[in-house]
Amino acid sequence: MKSIMDLRNDLDNNKTTHTDLFNEAILKAHKYQDEFNSFVTIMDNMYYTKSDTLIDGIPYALKDNFSTKGILTTASSNILKDYIPVYDATVYKKLKDAGAVLVGKTVLDELAMGGTGTTGHTGSVKNPWDPSRQIGGSSSGSAASVALGIVPFSIGSDTGDSIRKPAAFGGVVGFKPTYGRISRYGLFAFASSLDHVGVFARNVKDTAIVTDIIKGKDERDMTSLPDENINYVDNLDNDIKGKKLFYIKEVVDLNLYKDAGEETISVLNKFYETVEKCKKLGFEVDEVSVDEKLLKAIYPSYMTISCAEATSNNSNLTGIIFGPRGEGKNINEIMFDARTKGFSELIKRRFIQGSYILQRENQERLFKNAQRLRRIIVDKMNEFYEKYDAMILPASGGIAPKFDSEIDRMSDRYLILENHMAIANFGGFPSITIPNGMVNNMPIGLNITGACFKDSLTLNIANKIEEELGYKNLIKEEYDV
C-alpha cells in the first residue's frame, strides 16, 4: 500500500492527480462500507485547495466528532444525527489549507465514549483483518479506513487510548502528541483534561508528516502549546544510540498471567522479542517496578474523571439551540425528553455516574481522589522520565476481541494490561502505537510513550523501532498475498 510519500511522488510526477486519488478513495470507501462500516458520511464532492505541503492532494478521513462546516457531524450519536456544524475545527481547517482532501467522516463509539466500535448510532465497525472481530475504539472508523487502505491517513481523538488501541487492533500506526500540541478547537469534548487529537497512518514517517501539519499554537485553544519551530519528519532518523527505554514489570511479567490464555502469552512473548531487538538497535532497556495497586487504579481513576467531565461537557446537548427538539409541557420536560431519546443506555449510564461523582457529597471521595491518583501516577512517570527517554509496553493484552467475547473487567489482564495506555492521557505524554507483528493472524501493537514535549524524540524512537521490526504499511489485502 502506498504511503503519503509514494503518493506525493506520483502526484509530483503527474502519475496521478488529486481527483484520481479522491475518486479511488471514494470507490474503496463505498466498496468496504457495507462490510466494515468505517464511515458515517462518505463525501459526494471533493473540496480541494491547492497548497505546497507534503499532503497536498492526499485523501484522508476525519473522525465524526470534529466540527466541519456544512458537513454532517454526528459524533455517532442520535442526539446529533442531523447536526450540520457552522464552523470548522482547527485540525480540519489546517488540513484543508494544506491541500488534503476529505474522503469521509468516520464512525466512532457514541460521543467517543467506549473502546469497542460497537456503540455508534450507525452500527458497529468491523476489523479489516477479521470482520468477526472488533477494531476497538473510539476512533474505530478512522482506524479501519487506514487499515483497509482506503486512505493513507486519518484523524482521531484519544481520551483513554481511543487512537492507540484501535491502531494496534488494525495493524496501523496511531499517535497522539503531547497535550496541547494539536488544538482541540472543534473536537467535540468528551473529557477535556484527557482529550487529545491524533493521527492514524500506516507508518511512522507519514504520521510525522501529518502531525507537522496539524500541530501548533491556536488562539482558539488556551491549552494549546507554543510552537516549537521544528519538523518532526526531519528528525525521524536521528541517532538513538544510548537512548534509554523502560517497561513496567507489573504490566508485562509473564508470572502474572499464568492463568491467561495462550493469546496473551504470545502477545507478551512478542513484546519481549521486541525488547531484545531494541537492545540490538542500541537502546538501553530496563525493567522498572511500580506498585501494582497504583496500576490497578488507572482504569477506575480514568472512568471517574472522564465520566465526570463528560457529564458536564455534554450538557449542551439539550435540543434547545440545536439537535432534535424534545417534547414536553415545560422547558425542563423538553430538555429531559431530548436527552432521554437522544442518548443510548450506555451513555446515560456514564452521565449518571459522572453526575454522581461530581455531587457535592461525593466529589472529595470520588472525583478528587481520582485526580490525586492521576497526579501520583503522573509524578511516578515523570520520575522515570528523568532517567529514561520513553516507556515501551504492549498496546493490549491480546488481539482484537470477537464481537461476542466476554471480558472480565476485574481481571488483572483487563485492569492493567488493557488500560495502561490511559497513563499518557493522565500526563499528556506523547504516545504512539506501532504494529508489533501478528498473533493468530491478527495484528498486535507496541506502545511507546515519551515525556511531555518530547514528541519529536518519541517519533524518532518509534521510527527506529519500526525500521527494525519491519511491519510497515500493513494492510490485510497485501498481507494475505
Binding site: 456544524p85 469534548a189 422547558i331
Partner: protein, 471 residues
C-alpha cells in the same frame, strides 16, 4: 426590634469590546440574537478563550475593593441545566477568584462604615428570557457577556447601608471605567441575603435573587424585614430559602426552599489553564486606578474646606470631579470653584442634559470668569450671562466682556452723581429708611437699572450708605 444583617451579591457586566470567552460583540442591542457566536451558543467543540480586557478590568476592580489577588487565577464550572445557559454550565470562579478579603468604605449619614468584601469573581452572563403563556423567547445577546460578581460579607445592617454600598460600588465601577453599571439595561443586578436576630449571632437567612434597581433593593429589604419580623414576633422560625421580590405587590414570595437547593457540582474548568499574575502586572493596573469617591470627599472636606454636601455633589461624576480639581490647580480657591461648578455649571448641564465633556468650557475660561468677578471687573449677574455665551460660542470671557460692553462701572465719580440724583428724587424713601424700613434695595436696584447692571454692586451700596448718612 431585631438586629438586621444583610449581605449582597452584586452582578455587574464589564465594559469590553467582546464577550468574556468569545469574539462576539459585547454591546447592548435592541435586536435579539444579534451579538452571538458559536462559543456563547455552546456548539459542540467550541472552547472558551479568556478576554484579556475583562480579566484586567476584573483585577482592577478587585484592587479597587482592597482585595487580595491570588498569584494564580483559576476558573471553575458551575453545572446546571437551563435554556439561558447554552453550554449547560457557567464558567465562573470559586477556587482562585480575582480577589478575596477586601473592603469598601461607605459613609451613611456622616458615619464611615467598613463593608467587607468576601470575594469578587469573573464569570459569564446568561441569555435573557421572556416568558409568555405558552411559549418563551430566548435572546442570547447577553450570553457570555463578562460579569463581575462582588460578594459582601454579612456586614450591612439596614436598607440605607445597603443602598449606600450599592451607590458607592457603582461609583467605583464608573470611576475605574470597569462598567457603566446601568441598572436600566440590567447591567447591574443584586441578590440580597438577609437575616434577623435578637442577639449578635446570625439568624437564618433568606435570599432574594436578581433585583434590578436600587429602589427595588430598598423595597425588597424593607418588605423582607417586615415579613421576618412578623414570623419571629409570632414565635415561629424563619426558613432558609430563596425568595422572589414582587415589585408590584411589594412582597417576597417563596421560590425554592433549602431542600430544593441546586447542587452546582463545581469543578475546575479544564479548558482555561491557571493564569499566573505577576507583581508587575498588578502594579501596572494599580497605577490606573484613580482616587475614588470616598477618598475624594474626605479630601475636599478636610483639605479644601468644602461641606460634605458640596463634596458629594462634586464627586458624583468623575468628569466633574476631575474638572473641579483642574480648575483649582489653576489658582482659583476651592469654595468659589465649587460654588460655580455645583450651581451654574451643573445647572446648565442638567438643563441641557449634557456632560461636562460635551460643552465648550475650558478650565481656563471658568478660571478667568471667576477671577473677573473676584476682581470686581464684572458683576455676578453679568458673569452668568457671559457663562451662557462661553458655553455656546466657545469664546474667552475677557473677549466677551469687551464685545458685550459688560465692563463693570467701579468709578465712584460715575456712580456717585447717579446716587445723589436718586436720593434727591425720593426724599420720603430716605425718611422711611431712617425709620427702619428697607428701602435700601430699591436704591441699589435703581442704580443698576440706570447703569444697565454695570455698576459694581458693593461700591454702589457703599456710596448709597455714605450719601444717606450725609442727609
Amino acid at each position: 426590634m431585631y438586629n438586621v444583617t444583610i449581605g449582597l451579591e452584586v452582578h455587574c457586566e464589564i465594559n469590553t469590546n467582546s464577550k468574556n470567552f468569545s469574539w462576539a460583540k459585547n454591546s447592548y442591542s435592541e435586536y435579539p440574537n444579534e451579538n452571538i457566536d458559536t462559543v456563547d451558543l455552546g456548539f459542540p467543540g467550541v472552547l472558551p478563550v479568556l478576554n484579556k480586557e475583562a480579566f484586567r478590568k476584573s483585577l482592577m476592580m478587585a484592587l479597587a475593593l482592597n482585595c487580595k489577588t491570588p498569584d494564580v487565577v483559576m476558573f471553575d464550572r458551575k453545572n446546571y441545566y437551563y435554556p439561558d445557559l447554552p453550554k449547560g454550565y457557567q464558567i465562573t470562579q470559586m477556587t482562585k477568584p480575582v480577589g478575596i478579603d477586601g473592603y469598601v468604605m461607605i459613609n451613611v449619614d456622616g458615619k464611615d462604615i467598613k463593608v467587607g468584601i468576601h470575594d469578587i469573581h469573573l464569570e459569564e452572563d446568561t441569555a435573557s428570557m421572556e416568558h409568555f403563556s405558552d411559549y418563551s423567547l430566548l435572546d442570547y445577546n447577553r450570553a457570555g457577556v463578562p460579569l463581575l460578581e462582588t460578594v459582601t460579607t454579612p456586614s450591612l445592617h439596614s436598607a440605607d447601608e445597603a443602598i449606600t454600598f450599592l451607590e458607592t460600588l457603582k461609583g467605583i465601577f464608573l470611576y475605574t471605567g470597569v462598567s457603566e453599571a446601568r441598572t436600566d439595561r440590567g447591567e447591574m443586578r443584586v441578590d440580597v441575603n438577609i437575616s434577623l436576630s435578637k442577639d449578635d449571632t446570625l439568624g437564618t437567612r433568606t435570599e432574594m435573587k436578581n433585583i434590578n434597581s436600587f429602589n427595588n433593593v430598598r423595597l425588597a429589604i424593607e418588605s423582607e424585614i417586615k415579613r421576618q419580623t412578623e414570623i419571629l414576633d409570632s414565635g415561629k422560625i424563619v426558613e432558609q430559602e430563596t425568595r422572589r421580590f414582587d415589585e408590584k405587590q411589594l412582597k417576597t414570595y417563596l421560590m425554592r426552599s433549602k431542600a430544593d437547593a441546586i447542587d452546582y457540582k463545581y469543578y475546575i474548568e479544564p479548558n482555561i489553564p491557571p493564569i499566573k499574575i505577576s507583581d508587575e502586572y498588578i502594579n501596572s493596573i494599580k497605577k490606573e486606578i484613580p482616587m475614588l469617591q470616598f477618598d475624594r470627599v474626605n479630601k475636599y472636606m478636610n483639605e479644601l474646606g468644602l461641606s460634605r454636601y458640596d463634596a458629594e455633589i462634586l464627586v458624583h461624576d468623575k468628569q466633574i470631579s476631575d474638572y473641579f480639581e483642574r480648575v483649582i490647580s489653576m489658582g482659583v480657591d476651592a469654595k468659589s470653584a465649587s460654588n460655580w461648578i455645583t450651581t451654574t455649571v451643573m445647572g446648565y448641564l442638567n438643563k441641557e442634559n449634557k456632560k461636562i465633556s460635551d460643552i465648550c468650557l475650558k478650565e481656563e475660561y471658568l478660571v478667568e470668569l471667576i477671577k473677573l468677578v473676584q476682581d470686581g471687573k464684572i458683576s455676578s449677574k453679568q458673569s452668568k450671562q457671559i457663562f451662557e455665551h462661553v458655553v455656546t460660542e466657545n469664546k474667552r470671557p475677557k473677549d466677551l466682556v469687551k464685545s458685550l460692553g459688560m465692563t463693570q462701572i467701579t468709578d465712584e465719580n460715575v456712580i456717585r452723581p447717579i446716587v445723589i440724583k436718586l436720593l434727591d428724587d425720593y426724599p420720603n424713601l430716605i425718611e422711611d429708611h431712617k425709620k427702619g424700613k428697607n428701602t435700601f434695595d430699591f436704591f441699589v436696584g435703581q442704580v443698576m437699572k440706570q447703569t444697565r447692571g454695570q455698576a459694581n454692586p458693593s461700591i454702589t451700596a457703599n456710596i448709597i450708605k455714605e450719601e444717606i448718612e450725609k442727609r
